[in-house]
């Protein structure tokens, strides 16, 4: 059974929908759900004023309508599955700890920011700071998985501490900015200066980006872990080729302005 919430009209101001996660709705009657408060711009509103509520269920929630200005969808969710039928506003899945959030369209900035676990799937593209850290915070994403089937904006994985971010399309500039650990896999073009200030994380690039001079080439090899990682991403629907799984990667170590324990693995052309 799926609980469905359909937004009646596109909001004219940001609508904070962090109350719509499966864990927050569990055990509530339809009337209780309709009474839930949401912040609409700078005033309080309720779910019932803005959404049509239908269906039932605790573990599977579907939100539909023009949601591009609806923020914090699935933020902080800890279980179940939330599907966003269309675009999601900023902060989708931010701070989530478990469960699965699927955005069938594009996601705004800070999608999956500082998440701790669970899975965020974006069928379209994601904005800036995907899985990133908020201003004033050192660590961004600290666990879980983010799969983006389109492109990702600048500073994806900024402050990444644990977890996996995979982007089927292009990734903007400064991916993995100041990342502490974790893995970013980019199947499309990678913007300039990936791994700036990175300490221990891994960035995997299928095309050669413009690297900072603080990265140094180590060797060209086939990283055993990457086979596991890429096979899993393929199984989850990412566009992984045999050449990428079997290929050789040049390992660039950096950032030498930090620990120099990070790596950027760049796929070499077939030999």
């Amino acid at each position: 059974m799926t609980l469905e919430l359909t937004l009646r009209e596109a909001p004219v101001a940001p609508l904070n929908a962090d109350a719509l996660g499966p864990d927050r709705l569990a055990g509530l009657s339809r009337a209780d759900i309709e009474r839930l408060e949401l912040f609409y711009g700078n005033r309080r509103s309720t779910v019932g004023e803005l959404f049509d509520v239908s269906g039932a269920g605790e573990e599977d929630v579907r939100v539909a309508g023009d949601l591009a200005r609806v923020t914090h969808l699935g933020a902080g969710m800890s279980r179940g599955r939330l599907t966003v039928a269309g675009d999601a506003g900023a902060h989708a899945g931010a701070g989530m700890s478990d469960g699965e959030l699927v955005v069938e369209g594009d996601a705004g900035d800070w999608a999956g920011a500082e998440m701790h676990g669970g899975r965020l799937v974006v069928r379209g593209s994601a904005g800036r700071r995907l899985g990133g850290a908020y201003a004033g915070t050192r660590a961004g994403m600290q666990g879980g998985e983010i799969f983006v089937h389109g492109d990702a904006g600048d500073e994806a994985g900024a402050g990444l501490r644990r977890g996996l971010i995979a982007v089927a399309g292009r990734v903007g500039a400064a991916a993995g900015l100041s990342a502490l650990a974790g893995t970013i896999v980019a199947f499309g073009a990678v913007g300039a200066h990936p791994g700036a200030g990175m300490r221990r994380a891994s960035i995997v690039a299928m095309t050669a980006p413009t690297l900072l001079p603080t990265y140094a080439s180590a060797c060209t090899y086939r990283p055993p872990f990457l086979r596991l990682c890429l096979r899993r991403l393929r199984a989850l629907g990412l566009p992984v080729t045999d050449e990428q799984i079997e290929g050789f990667y040049t390992r660039w170590s950096g950032d030498s302005v930090e620990l120099r324990r990070g790596e950027i693995l760049i796929l070499e052309p077939p030999r």
């Binding site: 060797c219 055993p224 872990f225 086979r227 990682c229 799984i245 324990r261």
Partner: protein, 295 residues
């Protein structure tokens, strides 16, 4: 009771609880996976002198392994959980980590686990790195060749060690032929291994000895050369050679199944008599009665 041309004694194999793990070794080629697996399972015939028992469970196709490379599944058993953990770390560290192109994965989902990769990581001397994928942690240990990848935690289960059948025939060639046929059939059983060389032991033992400090000694009752000297000899007239096949399994069922197919194969391949080893039934918690395994 008769089974094909063999007499099957109405007795039972007495086996013990042992803790077991499944190790999946992969490599760039089947040959290197095989090298690692053979080294990993070397000198692991009996806990009497090897501290553990191990064997190759089966060869894995590339599509069956976590990293999509050719592999081998190995089962390793030890008398207790702590011992199993130690043997895993020692053996994976000395034989798989050292073998070109290999990686090493847990092959057993179990409630109990032991840390393997998390201990081997120290070989990386601070240069190691971990990655978590689908909830499982892997350690990347830099080595001269490139990088060794090992899973952190391995599932362990309380299995069975010491299932057995004993094959008697008129001469060595016939008895060995029957034992080889049995071993070949038994190797096809998933979840069980035959830890002795080629799966066959020629030197079945009894507990203790007339010599102090010798914890096991030859099973003189089944030595054909002693038939005329040993009053309690169990070697029938016309039997010139005896072999034992020991089976360890992750559960009683694969041990019983291996014994069942082994009995049938040995009886078809020239065994004149088949029995099993036990200690009267008071020591081992698992009793596999041959009459229940004969079709």
């Amino acid at each position: 009771m008769r089974l094909h041309d063999a007499e099957v004694e109405d007795t039972f194999a007495e086996a013990f609880g042992m803790w077991g793990a499944r190790i999946v070794v992969t490599a760039d080629t089947p040959g290197w996976a095989d090298h690692a697996a053979r080294s990993l399972t070397g000198f692991a015939t009996s806990v009497i002198g090897c501290k553990c028992e191990a064997g190759i469970e089966r060869v894995l196709e590339a599509g069956e392994t976590p990293d999509g490379r050719p592999g081998v599944a190995v089962l390793l058993f030890a008398p207790d959980e702590e011992g199993l953990g130690k043997r895993l770390v020692e053996r994976v560290g000395m034989t798989v980590l050292t073998c070109p192109t290999t990686a090493c994965f847990n092959g057993l989902a179990a409630d109990d686990e032991t840390d393997v990769g998390g201990k081997l990581r120290y070989f990386g001397d601070g240069w190691q790195a971990s990655k978590v994928l689908d909830g499982r942690r892997y350690w990347r240990i830099p080595v001269m060749e490139g990088e060794f990848l090992v899973e952190e935690r391995f599932g362990i289960v309380e299995g069975v060690g010491g299932g057995n059948i004993i094959i008697l025939a008129e001469d060595v060639a016939t008895a060995l032929g029957a034992a080889e046929a049995a071993a070949e059939a038994m190797r096809a059983v998933e979840g069980a291994i035959l830890p002795f060389p080629g799966g066959i032991a020629r030197s079945g033992s009894k507990v203790g000895s007339r010599y102090s400090g010798q914890m096991a000694s030859t099973n003189h009752e089944l030595c054909p050369t002693l038939r005329a000297q040993v009053d309690e000899s169990k070697v029938p007239d016309g039997v010139g050679s005896v072999f034992e096949i020991v089976i360890d399994g992750l559960a009683p069922e694969p041990v019983a199944e291996a014994m069942r197919v082994g009995l049938d194969a040995a009886a078809r391949a020239g065994a004149s008599r088949i029995t099993a080893g036990n200690y009267g039934g008071d020591l081992g918690e698992h009793h596999f009665h041959l009459k229940e395994l004969v079709p």
